[in-house]
């Protein structure tokens, strides 16, 4: 008996390429007829997940079911799904008609029926009269339409789309988005769509799966994801946002940017560090400053078509981005307020760095693949396993990689309005989280130094 109504069930999928973990225990359930988008930056594992679903790659662990039937080890040609590839992958030796008819011919469908269905599919994607054209003579947008026709003609249970619009120009992309949405409605097929474009995801999807570093960060409707991001990654990735450190004083009271504000969040506890997210369009700006919780000076004001986008430095030293229909002159001091319900409070993923280490002697600890000097730990002979705690702002990054104890590369940069929060990948594959005022670029190679005073060791 089929217990679930889910058409796709991905359970605990893990996949590594060599040492690199690409997917780490990913589970995803998709309902019949849904439009689900897997969203994430490049290298987050979204394409790998799609390929595993299509059968082009095998998961190391986990189970895949379609309509309740297990297909984990089924080769791609026996799976009831079709893919629209990013670079179309139309067969160059076949014309448009033969490309579209490819799947039906393999199934041995009768010629009359093939004719009829090819015409119908081409009509659906607006490519009637192109049947006998050479695929190489078509533009990118036309090729993509043919690729879609080639996939939907087989009446798959699920249509997989791997960044299908990434290679098109903006105008074409917008048009195709609308058409895809329309097509999804008409066909009633389940769509699984992969993209790195958050706007595309918000526009198209019934549900969005946000992925990063091989893990699912959040699953929810576009509104949920936008309004209630669960962590700073999601908040930063989806839409524009001001993310900053704050403290939850008590239920419904949060402190950030040097002031305390009412909010609607409860259940965090008292005096707990949190991340606060303010969407630029939610900030209320006023020429008056009295009676406003925050004041700031306008640094720049740019017209963006519908609204003006301003960068404002608050009197407490935070740099925030705001959107308003009315511009304010650069240099003026303005008042800033925000509705309690628009303050999004998120639990911090971590409050400090934690590393596993091993004592070498009383003043040296081995961690992150190298030896660090630490303050003398009493009663240590060497060989003890320890947990090392280092605060974010106590990690020192050096331009010159020789100046550091170990070498790392800057991986993810989050601007927190008064500081940068960086993720630094070490050569060992561990992550160090760093708070800094210095500007670094993605992929910068840095030397990492930690002062002995800042290495806090706990014996296990």
């Amino acid at each position: 008996m089929n217990e679930s109504n889910f058409i796709i069930e991905l359970k605990h999928i893990s996949k590594s390429f060599g040492d690199k973990v690409v997917l780490d225990d990913v589970s995803l359930f998709v309902e019949q007829g849904e439009f689900v988008t897997i969203l994430g930056p490049s290298g987050c594992g979204k394409t790998t997940l799609l390929r595993i679903l299509a059968g082009f790659g095998m998961a190391d662990e986990g189970e895949i079911r379609i309509e309740g039937k297990e297909i984990t080890d089924t080769p791609p040609h026996l799976r009831p799904l079709n893919t629209v590839f990013q670079r179309y992958a139309l067969f160059p030796h076949l014309n448009v008609y033969d490309n579209v008819a490819f799947g039906l011919k393999l199934k041995g469908v009768k010629k009359d029926e093939i004719d009829e269905r090819v015409n119908k599919a081409l009509k659906m994607v607006g490519m009637t009269d192109y049947e006998w054209r050479d695929v190489n003579s078509l533009s990118g947008g036309q090729q993509q339409r043919v690729a879609i026709a080639r996939a939907i003609i087989n009446r798959p249970k699920v249509l997989l789309l791997d960044e299908p619009l990434a290679a098109l120009d903006l105008k074409m992309r917008k048009d195709m988005q609308m058409e895809l949405k329309q097509m999804h409605k008409t066909l009633g097929i389940t769509f699984v769509y992969v993209t790195h474009d958050q706007e595309e995801a918000l526009t198209l999807s019934d549900r969005i799966v946000v992925m990063n570093e091989g893990k699912v960060q959040q699953i929810g409707t576009p509104t949920d994801i936008y309004n209630e991001p669960v962590n700073s990654f999601v908040a930063d990735f989806i839409g524009e946002s001001n993310i900053m450190n704050g403290t939850m004083i008590k239920d419904k009271l949060v402190s950030f940017m040097g002031n305390e504000c009412e909010c609607v969040d409860v259940g965090f506890g008292e005096n707990v560090p949190v991340d606060v997210v303010l969407r630029p369009e939610d900030l209320i700006l006023s020429a008056k400053t009295e009676g406003f919780p925050f004041q700031g000076t306008v640094q720049s004001c740019i017209f963006k078509g519908v609204h003006y986008e301003m960068i404002i430095t608050t009197t407490t030293g935070y740099e925030i981005i705001a959107q308003n229909y009315k511009p304010f002159e650069v240099g003026t001091l303005i008042g800033i307020d925000i509705e309690p319900s628009n303050i999004q409070v998120m639990k911090k993923e971590r409050l400090f760095n934690t590393f596993e280490g091993e004592m070498i002697d009383s003043t040296h600890v081995k961690m992150l693949g190298d030896e660090f000097v630490c303050n003398a730990v009493p009663n240590v002979e060497g060989g003890e396993k320890v947990t090392v705690k280092v605060d974010f702002d106590k990690v020192d990054l050096q331009d010159n990689k020789e100046d550091g104890t170990i070498v790392g590369s800057v991986h993810f940069i989050l601007y927190k309005c008064d500081r940068y929060h960086l993720t630094v990948h070490t050569e060992d594959g561990e992550n160090i989280y760093v708070d800094t005022h210095d500007v670094w670029d993605d992929c910068d190679i840095v030397g990492v130094r930690i002062d002995p005073d800042d290495i806090q060791i706990t014996l296990e």
């Binding site: 299509a54 080769p75 799904l81 670079r87 160059p92 030796h93």
Partner: protein
Amino acid sequence: MKLPRLFTKRRHWSIPYAIFLFIFVALPLLLIVVYAFQDSEGNFTFSNFTRFITNQESANTFVYSIGIAIITTLLCILFGYPAAYILSRKDLCRSSVMVLLFILPMWINILVRTLATVALFDFLHLPLGEGALIFGMVYNFLPFMIYPIYNTLQKMDYNYIEAAQDLGASPIKVFSKVVFPLSIPGITSGIMMVFMPTISTFAISELLTMNNIKLFGTVVQENINNGMWNYGAALSLIMLLIILATELFNDGEDRVSNEGGII
């Protein structure tokens, strides 16, 4: 100091090559044409060609040579394609040394290889003759078939294969409907590299059949060796025209999907 203008203009750099081409390619071709239409006294005549058509032996050799060339080419495709396919598949053949081993014979002189084949046949007490001839031809020209096919297969976008699988093609169908059709430019290149040289070869036939079987190349060589330059030139010209015809035929096909071949 200013360099003379001759060296500074980029198109002047091609002058040495133009001279080389003229002396060693254009001029000899011209001489072949001139000689072909002359008798031994230097008068203009068609007699060399009429002699070829009326002379039963020459015409027979010609047809026989083409037959051998076709058989050689077909055998090369038959053995070369699977080899190229295996070499191009990373999951079947991990080592680039394997590719090198297949290509290596191309770098060894054809006479050395052929003499080695003769020695091999001697050693195994196998008779020299037609069988040995075809063996020698295939052995000599196989790399020239493998390489262009390997090249097209290796450059083939793996997306096409995945797209075919995705649309429901079993591994056999993937091959027959996608991989093979897309590798045809490589096969065409291979045919050109094998078929043409086999028509004009004479060393292999001479050595591997103890000069018992004459190929067209042998006839040309014998005539020229024996001082019958005019008749030899006419035969060469006929051979050149055949090669040219194949070339034109191939050219038409190549233009459609000009990917991966090495010519």
